[in-house]
Amino acid sequence: MRPQNRRDGKHPDAMIKDFRALLDNTQDTMHRVAIYSGTRELIKHKSRNKTYISDEQLHAMELCIYHGIKVQVEGLDSERISQMCRCTGCQSWCGGDRRNDWVWVKQHLGRCYGALNGRLPWQLQRLFKIKLLNEDGAFVEYWLALALTRISENSGNLDPVSKFVHVRKAPAAVALQVFSVGNIVGCAHVIPEIATSSKTGDGQNERWIVNSHVDLTTWNDVYNY
């Protein structure tokens, strides 16, 4: 599973070469704060001595923006299926609207969140890779993603009438999260409750239903046992 690179030098996102540039290019304050604090936390968690890195180090970190990630999913007959999750951030996709896909993010091992089996559908906002010098003097790369988080309703169980799982916006404190792309386990598809919101998921929409009929694999996974 490796993110797909952009054509260098042809796209505004290709001009972002370090972490400071990413923060400067992020218009939304909430997103900027989430990227800064989330990345800092994640590096601390991954480091051996569990300490925060300095702001100078963080800002000077080499960075590369990606617009897609290929995820291997196991199909119904145990065949491997490649799924492409796209995330163009604020840029348009194919000359149209921006495209920030929904992905399944693994939260816990084992079966939890009812029918969702320990996964939650989150909406990607940014995909990036950072390169940093660790304590041993070697370069380490982290593939990270910023996503709008959603939480399940009714403990992730199917709604008795509609037979779909409902998800809604997470509380403001955890509404945006930075996580390792290794936690992405596939593409998700949700249908907004309020249709006036745009395709990018912005707007007043607060609730979505998880579309379990989008393919046979999802249909077999999102199911009350």
């Binding site: 119904l76 007959d77 799924q83 492409m84 999750c85 796209r86 149209g96 609207d97 495209r99 896909d101 929904w102 009438v161 509609s162 037979k163 779909f164 593409c187 998700a188 598809h189 949700v190 249908i191 907004p192 409750e193 249709a195 006036t196 919101s197 745009s198 395709k199 998921g201 239903i209 579309n211 009929h213 989008v214 393919d215 046979l216 249909w219």
Partner: protein, 294 residues
Amino acid sequence: MLDHLQKWIFHFMKTHERLDKYNAIWLSLPAYHDLTPKNKSYEEVSQWNGKEMKEMSQYLLAVVTQSLQGGSPAQHPIFNRAIECTWAFLEFYMYARYKSHDDATLSYMEVAVHRFHTFKDVFLLGQAGKKAKAKANALRTELVKKQKVDEVTNAESWTLSKKRHEMNPWRDYISHQIDVSKELDANFNFPKIHLMSDWVKQIRRYGALQQYSAERHEQAHKTNLKDGWNASNYNINYLPQVVTFQRRILCFEIRELNLQALAQHQENSAAACNVLPSSADLAAPLGSQSYAKT
């Protein structure tokens, strides 16, 4: 069958004044892997091709469910029946797409068909054909005439508010009678709906339904006919050329498979390798290879 379901749902949404919401949700569908966002609402699409139909089955139920959210308490049972019917049909459709089956999946298919038949009456109005609609229109004309006669008879005695008060029940009565007339004449007696009940038996006898997919034959039309036509001299005797071209392609494919099978056996591998082109031959530019005359 998806085509029929699509029409029934459209009619149902129109009858229950949910078409705007249905179209709006259609437009706000997010992208998914190979599913691109829609540029046109449901109503704006004039013709559906096979791929679009297939894609539609991926989100139809979720869109219907979201469109029928809310509504008055009287509407809830009808809406739930519509969702149940769509759910049962698409469940059957999903099972039918399995590449292999066991007793459990076949029994689920049977249950889904049974549930579909239980709830399908909710879409009966959408199934009304031309004859039923014509009959309903004739009835409407007849009832409107009666309404007018009633209006003229009492024109002098009725005030404007009284007239409005008397006409409203007439209007409800006419629409109710038309619905009843359409329902009486509409039915689900067409071959495709009957075939659904036989599919489980078919699977038990002949295997999964994937092998009956028309896609293969459509693809074969391209490779078997179009490629042959393109390789012909477009003359009046093109048919034998198309057949010969196809036969040669098949011969090569069979030959290749035979050689591959031979190469798998150790004793024949040397002989097979002599016949198969080597990697050096393949890498060499065209024209530099020498072929032995047979």
